[in-house]
């Protein structure tokens, strides 16, 4: 037993008010689905059902798109930017005021530790709305022409890893530019989006400007394929992204896709080792590794390999896995049984292919979906665990000798979302960053996000940029 045993310090779930069932948010009101079924949202840490939500069918999606179209034509597109900004500022303030409640709800529905939902997700969500509220009346100075216009109705489909943050990335710039939206949250994490719908009501947002249709893949497909959607924005897997690209090909719809990744985190022998280890841990174990830009391939210069690996293992032994609502938890629950299955399968393949797994001793709860933080050593570029996105707390460790080899290995992937460089030598960081084919390159840090910074991928990690001034472009004609 450890000498300094941290007593449980759980955040109280009593702060959230979860309804037994939720309808669809269409035209400013919660309505029952006309042709859909019901799906259950489960707490992945306990497998308890949190609430039932509607599964929108094609008719429901059509109703939502028509509501968005009406709101667009009748008032939102014509409203002066400074007026739209007021709504966005109001929404941002309400989110900040209700951040504790939203953080708890996010952790309940998603399984992520409350420390992350409280200290990372929610502050960024509010910051995104504040940031884009500021752009709403300054669009003509954004560099996209003297009088940029909104596109129309945006159909937006978001993933389950950062439910409310991805909603903010999608809705804030769309609304700031004068578009209206129909958003479909992921089927396993719809609850914060539905609470966001209540916040839209609280902010007196005109009905139909934001519509939220819950459901699974079929609902998303109905939304993406709806003929009256002008713009499609998707964040999720590369596989689904390709389907979407195919289905909108030849239509007038504009598309942005933010897809998977297999980021290289490159540690040079002159790196600040202790901080590099922190960065590696943050890069792959943040949010249970359910991060599209996770640093899932560690490339270590051979001369510091032993030292670094020992430090990394020692650090991993300190990770606290367990109750997502405990304020001292570092790693929470895997979001769903399906995702857990995928992580297990790929890990087993890693073992079969000859890589060596290592996990710190850690006790996992009996109920819920859990996977111990794991590193694989002896991994080569040919291994599937070095090529495929695992989307879990699993790190593949590879080595390199020269900067050229590091760059070649880092770029040797169909993805290109992010990368990390660790070195105390500024000139090396700049020269390597120049040669990495990744949308975001972090130097001596990892998984750092800011609303003013654009985010997006190269190659099969997608196209288009979200965040920053660049993020406006996708929503302006």
């Amino acid at each position: 037993m450890p000498r300094f045993e941290y007593a449980p310090a759980p955040e109280s779930p009593a702060i959230v008010d979860i309804k037994p069932s939720y309808g669809l948010f269409i035209g400013g009101e919660f309505v029952a689905p006309t042709d859909g079924g019901v799906i259950k949202s489960v707490n992945p840490a306990s497998e308890e059902v949190l609430a039932e939500v509607a599964e929108a069918g094609p008719n429901d999606v059509d109703r939502a798109v028509r509501a968005a179209r009406a709101a667009y034509e009748n008032h939102w597109r014509r409203m002066p930017g400074r007026e739209r900004a007021k709504y966005l500022f109001r929404i941002a303030r309400i989110i900040a005021e209700r951040s504790r409640e939203l953080a708890v709800l996010e952790s309940l529905d998603n399984g992520k530790p409350i420390r992350e939902s409280r200290d990372t997700d929610l502050p960024l969500v509010a910051a995104h709305f504040f940031y884009y509220a500021g752009w709403a009346d300054k669009l003509k100075y954004a560099g996209f022409g003297p009088d940029p216009q909104p596109i129309g109705v945006a159909g937006q489909v978001i993933p389950w890893n950062f439910p409310l943050l991805m909603l903010a990335w999608k809705i804030a710039p769309a609304l700031a530019c004068g578009n209206t939206v129909v958003l479909k949250p992921a089927e396993t994490t719809p609850l914060t989006a539905l609470t966001f719908a209540e916040i839209c009501q609280q902010a007196d947002l005109p009905p139909g400007v934001v519509n939220i249709v819950t459901g699974a893949g079929a609902t998303g497909a109905a939304l993406v394929n709806h003929p009256d959607v002008d713009k499609v924005a998707f964040t999720g897997s590369t596989e689904v992204g390709k389907q979407i690209a195919r289905s909108v090909a030849g239509t007038r719809k504009r598309v942005t896709l933010e897809l998977g990744g297999k980021a290289a985190n490159i540690v040079f022998d002159d790196a600040a080792i202790d901080q590099a280890v922190e960065g590696i841990v943050n890069g792959i174990f943040f949010n249970q590794g359910h991060v599209c830009c996770a640093g899932s391939r560690l490339l270590v210069q051979e001369s510091v390999y032993d030292e670094l690996l020992e430090s990394l293992k020692r650090r991993m032994a300190r990770l606290r896995v367990g109750d997502p609502l405990d304020k001292n938890t570092d790693i929470g629950a895997i979001n769903s049984s399906a995702q857990l299955e995928r992580i297990r399968t790929l890990s087993e393949i890693g073992v079969q292919e000859g890589a060596e797994p290592w996990s710190p001793p850690c006790e996992l709860p009996d109920r819920g979906f859990w996977f111990a933080p794991t590193i694989f050593t002896g991994v080569s570029q040919a291994h599937r665990i070095a090529r495929e996105e695992i989307f879990g707390p699993v790190l593949s460790v590879l080595t390199f000798r020269t900067p050229a080899e590091a760059v070649a290995k880092a770029n040797n992937t169909p993805y290109g979302l992010s990368a990390g460089i660790w070195s105390e030598k500024g000139s090396r960081i700049l020269s390597v960053a120049d040669r990495l084919r990744a949308g975001v390159v972090w130097a001596n840090t990892f998984n750092k996000f800011d609303p003013s910074s654009p985010f997006g991928g190269y190659k099969e990690s997608g196209y288009g940029r979200e965040g920053g001034r660049h993020g406006l472009e996708a929503y302006l004609a």
Partner: protein, 315 residues
Amino acid sequence: MTATAPPLAEVARSEAALRAFLHGLPGVDQVGAEQRAAALATRSIKTTAKAWAIDLAIRMVDLTTLEGADTPGKVRALCAKARRPDPLDPDCPSVAAVCVYPSLIGTAATELAGTGIHIASVATAFPSGQAPLPVKLAEVRQAVTDGADEVDMVINRGAFLAGRYQQVYEEIVEVKQACGDAHLKVILETGELATYDNVRRASWLAMLAGGDFIKTSTGKVQPAATLPVTLVMLEAVRDFHQATGRRVGVKPAGGIRTAKDAIRYLVLVNETAGEDWLDPDRFRIGASTLLNDLLMQRQKLATGHYSGPDYVTLD
């Protein structure tokens, strides 16, 4: 005149070798170190863990008075408090040590005889260290003769910042010899070292030269102890132990005033150097006002209500 264990015995053989070694230590990324310290500061220590941590923190306090206006009476009062911090609760542990100026060691020694509480004295022309070496050494010898079993020395920051590492090293080695059996705490005065890289180098220098503890600050310079500085020093003692097998203690001093602060330091110790350092022999907190907040929080945990400063003694 070498004080280091065999694996590193050679690094201090010349100015060049020492410089090469210290500058070859991995760098510290400022942003990353501060982020890590801030993240650990969000640990939530409650109920049983809090009670345990508060008692441990009391046992780690070097109860300190270092004022020009100190009198034997003040030191006697401090010693009484060190022995029995909470007069109402005999179960409340004693502090680790009382820390005074050399002229008051005799008073403290009389008061603390047989209690097991250590008598620490600052020496070596504290706090500036700006005196000739023979004067510093004479002061150390006198302090030990008068009854100090722990000596808190200051390093020669001028020499360190000018890159004269061997001079700093030799001074520490000589002070250590002058200490005899007394434990040596080496004050780095991190507030004057400017970078975390320097903190790491100075930590290694002090450990190589034989320091039993490395200590952040005199308390006379701002900033004094901070969480990131202490993080870097804890990493240094952890790595030094790995390289040599010798465990060196760490003492943050100055600016730690609340129980909440103290617990944050203990979390830092636990998750950086590890639980072997959760012991008054390996970790101390240099403080004067901290003890009263620890006592008030301790009373609150025991009774369920907060009594306020009138219910703990002034000094």
